[in-house]
Amino acid sequence: MPSAAVRDIVKEHGRLAVDVESLSDDDSLYEAGMTSHASVNVMLALEDAFDVEFPDEMLKRSVFESVASISSALAQLDVKAA
């Protein structure tokens, strides 16, 4: 399951105001303190870690809203489980 790896990346790059472990997979990362630029840093780190590139049509706020939405997006990009 990539969600553990996603959590690690959000923890390191998301600049959240709270511990990512206190969030459920569906909790809003933006409400947890992730700024717009931090979402860029998270996106780039995800691309490095999973060797993918989010296409322009996936550059939506909803894609980076939560651990669950990010994991779902990665699944759409055909990322294999770590």
Binding site: H13, R15, T35, S36, H37, A38, V40, N41, L44, A45, D48, D56, E57, M58, L59, K60, R61, S62, E65
Partner: protein, 121 residues
């Protein structure tokens, strides 16, 4: 006639992190060629441009499922040093559908922070 305003604040440290870890890949995903020429790799200038893009997003109000790449919003200074906003592709489409045709932007930065305000009407 609609009138909207957006504001955003960006820490230079967040830009520095992106530059250090991703370099050119970060620049090319977020900024246009012309923006890169004007800013180079100055974290405060880039932070101000990013703040302007996010301020513009707050004016355009994309829905959660509207895809708007950061480079679709371009912030460039003219020959007199006055910043201006140009919208491309999906950003321009959002402006049209919202009835917004004129935009103004102002940038500022000091120490480790950059900010921008965008007005659209």
């Amino acid at each position: 006639m609609p009138l909207r305003v957006g504001i955003d604040l960006v820490k230079a440290a967040t830009v520095r992190e992106a530059l250090a870890e991703h370099g050119d890949r970060y620049l090319r995903r977020v900024y246009t060629e012309a923006e890169i020429v004007q800013c180079g790799d100055d974290p405060l200038r880039l932070a101000a441009r990013f703040a302007a893009k996010e301020a513009a997003m707050k004016v355009l109000r994309p829905g959660a499922d509207d895809a708007v790449p950061w480079a679709a919003i371009e912030v460039l200074r003219d020959a007199h040093g006055v910043p201006g906003l140009t919208l491309h592709g999906p950003a321009a489409a959002l402006a049209r559908s919202a009835g917004l045709s004129d935009f103004a932007v102002s940038l500022t930065h000091e120490d480790e922070y950059a900010a921008a305000v965008v007005v659209g009407t």
